[in-house]
């Protein structure tokens, strides 16, 4: 088992992690040339340009019904200051009755009492989602382009080969919890929103900077909101979506816009989804002490009860045989192994890493690192594992990214690599590995300051090139020194 005590100490303040080369993490004092994207902190939006306008109760009720459903309607009416006391009384009674019923239900599943924004914040993979400038991030699985969802509910698509940066806005695109590009497709981007799923079709050759909302397919199902997690199948044919309010997980045939709800009793909802890279399994965690692993051939599932808390995050090894996951309230990483061989049934997950608090003695004094885990990311070659640690505000323990070296064969092994740190005051919020970085692994980190940086890990892959069904054959990598790449970072030239 690997623990944080084996890690090299964190960098002194003012230093920033630049890259890994020759088996060690290099750092620099300042980062002016590595700043890639600076996203404006202002909450952009056109709402501020309009004056407040009062509509009649009926109009507002209709709008609330459309946007928020029945509970939205009731809330709108109770919040309205109308003179009709009788009407208010009736609605108050209905609401009281409903609240009584839902409080009973809510005592079973406490998350159901949260508002949808709070729910997304609670179950999102992003640390501190409500005030995070970059709310979601997604690399395209095949090319060097990525989508960034911002605080003002717009999505920007950056592509180094194109001069235009399309901005996607839609009436229904609110509280974006996750974005993901469709595999084996150049244009389709799925967006998990508050009330629905949107699938944008952004023509890569188009010069338009504001694709019309006609380019987006709206996928919605009654009771399936807010959507907190989505996952495309690696073959690009299906999309699964999850909502903590809905016990069913939706499997969408996006082209036909129809869905199959996969309902199971227990759990009270589905919060996080992760499709294994070989397409054979899907991890679905629930808000209660339970997660499921679906097998995608006939869509049956295994139940995995947890002891302490709900499953917070998980990631799959590239061949889909091993699942790493973390549990809320615990500071360890568990591993589960899936094999095709019958008769070999695992009844418990193994602890592979311990990330409990560790104090390092540095020249700046003692620095404490460790604690609960927010999210996990495994690079597509299966050689680096990044772990985003939550930190604690009151005990002055900032969030930090710990990176492990991993090996899957002949035995599964975790080795310490180091901490990835940003500028002083910048906290990591969100991270993702580039899906096909040729020279090792490339970790993209979104910081609380609104910056997005790329941290390359240069190494030679130990395993043979993986010619799986779903992996594109990787080209033979010539042995190149990292200094060759130090000055050609990915997006420096186009984005100021």
């Amino acid at each position: 088992m690997c623990s944080l005590a084996l890690f090299p100490p964190p960098l002194p303040s003012g230093h920033t992690t630049l890259c890994e080369s020759n088996n060690e993490l290099l750092s620099g004092a300042s980062s002016e040339d590595h700043r890639l994207i600076q996203v404006s902190q202002n909450k952009l939006g056109i709402n501020t340009a309009f004056l407040d306008h009062s509509e009649t109760l009926w109009m507002r009720s209709a709008a609330a019904w459309r946007d928020g459903g029945f509970t939205g309607l009731l809330n709108e009416i109770t919040n309205s200051h109308t003179e009709d006391i009788f009407q208010i009384l009736k609605i108050w009674c209905t609401l009281a009755l409903l609240q009584w019923v839902s409080s009973f239900h809510g005592s079973l599943f406490p998350h159901l009492t949260l508002s949808s924004e709070d729910m997304i914040a609670e179950f999102s993979q992003v640390l501190n989602w409500p005030d995070c400038v970059v709310r979601a991030f997604a690399w395209h699985p095949h090319t060097d382009k990525f989508a960034v969802a911002l605080l003002d509910d717009s999505i920007k698509i950056y592509n180094p080969k194109s001069a235009t940066t399309p901005t996607l806005k839609h009436r229904l695109q609110r509280s974006v919890a996750a974005v993901q590009w469709k595999p084996l497709c150049a244009s389709a981007l799925a967006v998990a929103c508050q009330n629905c799923l949107l699938v944008w079709h952004v023509d890569p050759c188009s010069l338009s900077t504001r694709p019309s909302s006609g380019c987006a397919q709206v996928l919605s199902h009654p009771g399936h909101s807010p959507v907190t997690s989505i996952a495309w199948s690696p073959s690009g044919s299906l999309l699964v979506s999850a909502s903590p309010m809905d016990t069913a997980m939706m499997v969408w045939d996006v082209a036909a816009e129809n869905c199959v709800p996969l309902q199971r009793v227990g759990g009270g909802g589905v919060t996080f989804l992760s499709w294994s890279p070989d397409g054979s399994h899907v991890l679905a965690s629930t808000p209660s002490l339970l997660f499921r692993v679906w097998e995608t051939r006939m869509w049956t599932c295994e139940r995995w009860p947890c002891v302490k808390g709900r499953c917070q995050s998980g990631c799959w090894s590239p061949d889909g045989s091993r699942l790493l996951f973390t549990v809320q309230g615990e500071t360890v990483i568990y591993a589960l192994t899936f094999t095709d061989a019958p008769g070999k049934v695992y009844t418990a997950a193994a602890v592979v890493a311990d990330l409990s608090e560790t104090t390092f003695n540095t020249q700046d004094g003692d620095i404490t690192v460790g604690g609960e885990i927010q999210s996990l990311a495994w690079d597509p070659k299966g050689e680096r594992l990044a772990v985003l640690l939550k930190g604690l505000v009151q005990s002055d323990r900032p969030p930090v990214i710990a990176v492990f070296k991993t090996r899957t064969s002949p035995i599964f092994e975790l080795l310490p690599c180091g901490f990835v740190q940003g500028e002083p005051g910048a906290e990591p919020r969100l991270m993702q590995f580039h899906p096909n970085f040729q020279h090792g692994a490339l970790l993209t980190v979104c910081w609380s300051t609104g910056r997005i940086t790329h941290v390359p890990f240069y190494f030679l892959s130990a395993g043979v090139p993986h010619f799986g069904l779903n992996g594109s054959p990787s080209l033979p990598r010539p042995q190149e020194r990292p200094s060759d790449f130090a000055n050609q970072s990915l997006f420096t030239e186009m984005i100021s």
């Binding site: 095949h142 090319t143 890569p204 499997v251 045939d253 816009e257």
Partner: protein, 665 residues
Amino acid sequence: MFSAQQSCWFVRKVICWRAAASIAWAVLLLPPTTAAFIILSRFSILHPFQWISECLSLLTSASAIFSFILLGGVIIIVGFLNLEYYTVIPNIACSKIALLGQLLHPRQFLSSLVHCIMGIIVAWCCAVTIGGRYETLGYPCVESDGSPEMCLNEYHLVLLLAGAFVGFSHSLLGVIHNMNYVSFHTVQRYKYLRFKGSLPLVVKCSATQALYSVRNYIVIYFFLGYIPKTWMCKTLNLHLNSSLHSLDTIAGLLDLCLIYHLWISATFLLFTWYITLVLFRIFVTEVYSFPVQSSFTEDSHQCLPKVITEKQPMILKFLALQDLALLSQHAPLRRSEVFSLSQPGGHPHNWNAISKECLSLLSDLTQRLIVYHDTVATNGRAKPLSTGSERKTSSDTSGDDPFTPKSTPLMKTPASVFTRSVVGGPQSPLTAPFTPDLDSPFASPALRRLTAPVGQCSPWHDTVQSPHIMRRGPKLWSTSTDSHVNGSPQLSPASVPSPKQEVSKPSLLAQFLQNRKEQVKNFLAKRVLIMYLFNKLPEASSQALFADSQAHIWALEGLSYLVQASFSEDRFGVVQTTLPSILSSMLVLQEAVDRHFKLPHASSKPVRSSGTMGDCHYKTLRFALRATLKTAIYRITTTFGDHLSTVQMSAEHRKRLQQFLEYKE
């Protein structure tokens, strides 16, 4: 009714058993359904104990058992009708008149009649189980003059007629909503879970449909109720009790208890029938695993490469293609059998047969799209005729030599497929000016014959045209599986008569006739009713064009997954010989599909399917095909990457492929 398809081993051994199993399950589900019906129909909140005890005693009574037997018989007949009328390719009516034709077809009429009778039987069972005032048709009453007589129990009659009406409307709606269409799902699940998942929808649909049917029935009974009433009185020599007010009045029909009983009976009827239908669909579309190769020669006709080329029955072809798509994704062992060589001789027979069939499916769809696009694009304008330019058909491809990769006709035209049709299109100068639209009823006969595989839309036209076309008429009219012959993807363009015979010198007489025809056409076009009946329904022609596209989707998936797997698994390189033709036929189809979606009337987004029992899967098939096609090409390009530069193909296709390699499509 038992056509040639019944003789097929697959129908005998698999489909019939599956249908029998589904009927057996439907019959087994009858007791709980009936118990629920009894409990709901005798519902009384004031006397709960009496209510429960009455229900229990009724369930064990002799009449209940007799009702069970009757209802079981009804379910068996409904299941048999499902088996007889199901289709995997929907019959899409492109105009109101075509729909009317489908509704009035004798076969359909027979089905409606049977449904009517069974509706009456179910309603009688309902009347007996509800009991009380509904129980018998006649009851003794005392006339005004004091003599005892038998009177007509109108409540019983109303319930029986409601059953007949709901049965009839069920069969009509079945035609309108294509309820006999059986669709295949992309998400495979076990039968029990699928059934459990569809149960809420069945309950919802039967309840709402029953509500609408009862509403319509009440309106009809209010106006026409006296006809069956007097008729029954006359034939059975019953009397009308004048002391009770009659039910075909507003006061009589506004009896809430009566409406509730009518509704719950109609819901029960529809629920049992829908359950039978859902079970049939679930059982029949279950994945069937065909062996790729067999060690015994007598079983060779059941192997996948053989089965996949069969034209009839359609369900066999569909299940074979589904199995191909699944094995290419999930089964490495069976894939290796596809790539294997025959033991004496070393020929890749399996791969050749499979790839040839898939490619012919794709090229067939491409041809269909091109023909459709041409007719729509010309839009009534004459084209310059270039003499001697005959349409190329795919009949000249020789698929005998296993070593020759199948060269599709499209391979021979490296330039765009659409340029050819502009040079010498299929239209003759005679017909071209009068072809406003393919599915317009005013399309000329020559064109309709040319586009026979496409246009099964307007049967009216075929019936009034020359006897040559009349021969095809009955198929167009039928709602049955016979129509597979017509919409079959197997129908190669070679079977389309050459337009050469039409290209004669336009004589004076012909011109005169054409002028007359146009005058008649103009005259008719001004009549509103005629235009209403004959106008194309929006989207319907596009849906009809892609009606069997599920087969193409599986062919694309199967081919692309096999090609992807061949990168690492194909030891003998059998796939490489076919790779150029696979790529080019996919690219040509991609171009044709793109063109089709750019047509002005083709909507770019699928319509949201409402929650009806009719399967709306066929409405979105073309979007699914478009997405699958793109994914399939990307699957090949991402797997092979730069190696594709060594594959031989035309410059046009290479350019197109480069777009895919750069992820710019």
